[in-house]
Symmetry: C2
Subunit: 303 residues, 2 copies
């Protein structure tokens, strides 16, 4: 079995994800722009428009970029979702099936990816995608390939992992398995995922949800370090409590040590996407999402 080297895989990943066209002001809907919002979203001095750079920091060494996990905007359609992502300055998106049905034809998938590109957003992943049967795996990779996704954020039943591996090797698409914390029988923690995939292709790894990881009492920063070669995506959020009762809240208003987690991602040279999954305010997520984005950018600026 050919083993992919993390470094070369990272380089390929960045070549793909950074190939986002520079956005012209036109075409941003009133929804995203408000009256003068477009000025922020397309300002040339706006860090969010530096298409070919990672996040700004004092040291300038941060290699990862910020994105949106579209579960955040589950009550809105895809066009509204892309507008909100753009307004929040998030130019990488992981689409949940609310915004692109898993039953979409290859043509519909290609059209969705094109819609993202047109607004300056990179459709880097899909998910969380559940895969129970071999045909679910087959379809997930078809869908991801038709969209030009580099990554599937998924929850494959352990039984289908060998089939997942075959598809990874056939397509070169990464699979980032998502841990759902307390209550998740199969993959509660990142470690419970690693146990099941450690002998498999190195392109099968983790999407570490920092909220679920912290709520189950696992050290998020240590997880990042320990499994850095298998870390292919992160879901960022904050939590009101560091236990199963914790509820998601705006970044900076909860108890998670976000500066420590971000410093760790910087130190391990994480160079993929940190996606916001803001689960509160489902009918009006944009303000809380944008405060979360601002908080994380403020911390990154200081790293």
């Amino acid at each position: 079995m050919i083993r992919q080297q993390p470094q070369s895989s990272r380089r390929r990943f960045l070549r793909t994800t950074l190939a986002v066209p520079v956005l012209a002001g036109s075409g941003i809907s009133a929804f995203v722009a408000g009256t003068t919002g477009a000025k922020e979203t397309i300002s040339t001095t706006n860090s969010t428009t530096k298409e070919t750079h990672a996040e700004i920091s004092k040291s300038g060494e941060i290699k990862f970029q910020l994105g949106l996990a579209s579960y955040t905007t589950r009550k809105f359609d895809r066009t509204q979702t892309l507008a909100m992502s753009r307004r929040a300055g998030l130019k990488h998106i992981c689409l949940k099936d609310f915004h692109l049905k898993l039953t979409s034809t290859n043509e519909e998938c290609a059209a969705a990816a094109q819609e993202c590109r047109q607004i300056g957003i990179n459709l880097y992943a899909g998910g969380v995608i559940y895969m129970k049967k071999p045909e679910d795996v087959e379809n997930a990779f078809r869908y991801a390939q038709a969209c030009g996704m580099t990554t599937i954020v998924g929850v494959p039943e352990p039984a289908v992992l060998p089939i997942v591996e075959q598809h990874v090797q056939k397509t070169g698409i990464y699979v980032a398995i998502h841990n759902h914390g307390p209550g998740d029988k199969v993959y509660p923690t990142p470690e419970s995922i690693i146990e099941k995939i450690q002998t498999l292709d190195q392109r099968i790894g983790l999407c570490v949800d920092i909220g679920h990881t912290a709520r189950i009492g696992v050290d998020v920063a240590e997880t990042f370090r320990k499994y850095k070669d298998r870390l292919f995506d992160c879901h960022f959020k904050d939590e009101t409590e560091m236990n199963p009762k914790g509820q998601t809240c705006i970044c900076g208003r909860g108890v998670l040590d976000l500066p420590h987690y971000l410093m760790t991602l910087k130190e391990i040279g994480y160079d993929r996407i940190v996606s916001f999954e803001y689960e509160a305010d489902e009918k009006d997520p944009l303000p809380g999402l944008m405060e979360s984005v601002g908080y994380i950018r403020g911390i990154l600026r200081m790293l």
Copy 2:
């Protein structure tokens, strides 16, 4: 003439501004809370609910708090403004006359202050209030006193400054004169204000608008240091350019060195309010305001 000592005046200011009742979840409008937004605004782990503490930082030494200059929400009424301020976690407000007419009776002023208190917001100031004639000064102090404001953010014509001083000494209310940058004939820079007030009561000082100050080419951090004993309010924002063509934008998306300004405020022991004046998106300011608040809180967390 009795000269007020900055230290004792600061202590009195904080006793006043920190006397904000702890908010119960009830009574927050759907407008502020959205579906689950109230959870963020009243979360016990939410820095914005630590009524008796300043902003969270590594060192825990930050003495100032964040507030809202209600020019930000000029297209919304007072109730909506307070709801947005609360949702953004800003519990100190400077009301512009859009939200409380300068012609309001003493009873209307007292009722407005009570409306603020009921939602857990401290009506610390009014302004920007223009004072051209002696009767404008008379009315501004009546209004501020009826509201229980500690500060008037104002633009008094130089000719009425002696009358302003008389009212400051009679009421103990501070006057923070606001600089409007390029195009402002009277008070373009903080220095142009100091020149006119340096012989007057020390409770007459500055509201440094960092955007206007930077756009006219004046060093904001140096201004904070140089005039720290006369610094009674700040308007925070970002700008797309450090020149007269600069346009206001979301904090972190522009060119101002906000970390340096905040570090300087920390170092000089500034212990009053840093108010956000987010001028863009006048029809939909909340997302940009909240990203700005998040960005500043992220930086403060790292100081």
